[in-house]
């Protein structure tokens, strides 16, 4: 138990991936294969997000500093439009504490993966629909029988 509890997330990831893989292999219905593919994908996304999570950390958005505590940044920046820069930079402390924010890198990889996943789900569904137009069936076994006839 002491071994398993700190790594519970990986076990759930593996269970989800096994479920998706089994459904892609064994289900004979094409739509269910597509749903299984989506479940497999969420397993992978869960893996990435959970390795990026940190204990006692907040969301990866830099919180505004309480008023009065902020200090102006160093003078290395070109003082092109000083009023804008100063007003903007004063509101935030620099730099934020690394251990207080969750890892943003894994999140952005997965954010794009979700939208791309919907697009690929659409491609899968379109293929299934085309197969249905040709064979009048979603069932793999029936399609094979129709072809061998």
């Amino acid at each position: 138990m002491e071994e398993i509890v700190p790594k519970f997330n990986y076990i759930v990831v593996v269970i989800l991936m096994m479920t998706g893989l089994w459904s892609m292999l064994a289900q004979s219905n094409l739509i269910k294969k597509c749903i299984g593919m989506a479940i497999f994908q969420t397993g992978i996304i869960l893996f990435f997000i959970s390795i990026g999570a940190k204990n006692n950390a907040s969301i990866p958005i830099v919180a505004k500093a309480p008023l009065g505590q902020a200090h102006a940044p160093e003078g290395s920046q070109p003082p092109a439009k000083p009023e804008l820069t100063a007003a903007k930079a004063k509101a935030y402390p620099d730099p934020p504490d690394v251990n207080k924010l969750t890892n943003p890198l894994t999140q952005i990889l997965m954010l794009t993966a979700i939208v791309v996943g919907v697009a690929t789900l659409g491609v899968g569904l379109a293929l299934a629909q085309k197969v249905y137009q040709q064979h009048k069936s979603f069932d793999e076994d029936e399609i094979l029988e129709n072809q061998t006839k």
Binding site: E2, V5, P6, F8, N9, Y10, I11, V12, V14, L16, M17, M18, L21, W22, A26, S28, I31, C34, I35, I39, L46, I49, I51, A53, K54, N55, A57, P60, I61, V62, A63, Q77, P78, L84, K88, Y92, V98, N99, L101, T102, N103, P104, L105, Q107, I108, L111, T112, I114, V115, V116, V118, A119, L121, G122, L125, L127, Q129, F138, D139, D141
Partner: protein, 345 residues
């Protein structure tokens, strides 16, 4: 028992999510499977929130509630709704199960090598990521680190992901589109004739969506523009904009929407989004910088060097939003109308 690393919700959610996934796959009726899959995505969104990944949760919320289930429903509408019970091939299913379990056992054998859940010192959290966390505010004045990494530090990645969405849209068109004049596709015989227009028929639904759609679109524009300060950005706003038009397609009629958005317009606008993104990069080259290095745009944009990156991110997000919005609409229409682009769900 050791103390749970992350707080109490997560464990409950993770157990519930496995239950939902298995349930969705055991449903015999495909419509049920689609609906349970929608609930699965609700829970997934809650898990991302509990792990502190708000942007991912927002994307999952918009995609799961608005788009993906509707795609599956549209496909089922044009085909048959049931997974016919056949004599189950138990042997093959057991063999597939054995393969899946073997894969799982192989993966689990690596379990001791993984860092513990929520360890701040793990390799993922201690190598590259601290640079992003520390430098975002100074480099771009954007508090939302995810937006900065998405559109600025890893701009190439996002450009190509947007291109992938565009290519997927093209692929669906080339798979399914038929010319309705020479169409040989006949309606599945289960579909009743489309009902004649009856204003009392779905008056409540029509009026409710008439109220909701403008709010959705304004909210989506807010999400795109305010993505620098709160969760949001081009992907989320684009999906919500797409979902608002999909809601119009469902609650009114496909023809009603197609009067405004013809096929040509939708395809051109899908391409326009990628073009905006790429054009920002090319503009950077002409201004004397590297591709997608927004610092080079400093002379034409207000504010100092960091504000050039701030506005560059905004331009890029607009491009992403346009592509995602119109590809979602295009995919929905072509799935719902069975490739004929004239009538459907």
């Amino acid at each position: 028992m050791a103390e749970l690393p992350i707080w109490q919700y997560d464990t409950l959610f993770l157990i519930a999510v496995v239950l939902f996934g298995v349930t969705a796959l055991t449903m015999q009726n495909l419509m049920s499977a689609a609906i349970v899959f929608g609930a699965y995505s609700f829970l997934m969104c809650l898990i991302w929130t509990a792990m502190g990944a708000v942007d991912v949760a927002f994307t999952e919320a918009a995609v799961g509630a608005g788009v993906s289930t509707v795609f599956i429903v549209a496909t089922i509408y044009n085909t048959g709704a049931s997974a016919k019970p056949r004599k189950p091939r138990v042997g093959f299913k057991l063999f597939a199960g054995a393969v899946a379990v073997a894969t799982g056992a192989f993966l689990l054998s690596a379990l001791p090598d993984f860092p513990a859940w929520g360890d701040p010192k793990s390799p993922v959290n201690s190598t590259v990521a601290p640079y992003y966390i520390e430098n975002t505010i100074r480099d771009a004045h954007v508090p939302n680190i995810v937006t900065t990494v998405l559109a600025d530090y890893r701009g190439f990645d996002t450009l190509l992901e947007t291109a992938v969405v565009f290519i997927a849209c093209i692929a669906i068109y080339s798979i399914l589109r038929v010319d309705s004049a020479k169409s040989t596709v006949d309606e599945p015989d289960i579909i009743a004739a489309p009902p004649a227009y009856d204003p009392t028929d779905s008056l409540i639904i029509r009026q409710a969506s008439r109220i909701m759609v403008p709010f959705m679109q304004i909210f989506a524009l807010y999400v795109i523009a305010h993505g620098h300060y709160s969760p949001g950005g081009g992907f989320q706003g684009g999906v919500i904009l797409g979902a608002s038009v999909i809601l119009l397609c469902i609650s009114f009629d496909l023809k009603f929407v197609l009067r405004q958005w013809t096929e040509k317009k939708i395809m051109l606008l899908t391409a326009l989004g990628v073009l905006i993104y790429a054009a920002v990069g090319v503009a950077c080259i002409f201004m004397g910088g590297d591709y997608l290095n927004y610092n080079a745009l400093d002379p034409v944009l207000p504010g100092d060097m960091a504000f050039a990156r701030y506005y560059g991110i905004l331009l890029v997000e607009v491009g992403v939003g346009v592509t995602v919005m119109f590809s979602m609409i295009g995919i929905y229409i072509i799935l719902a109308s069975n490739g004929r682009f004239n009538r459907g769900l």
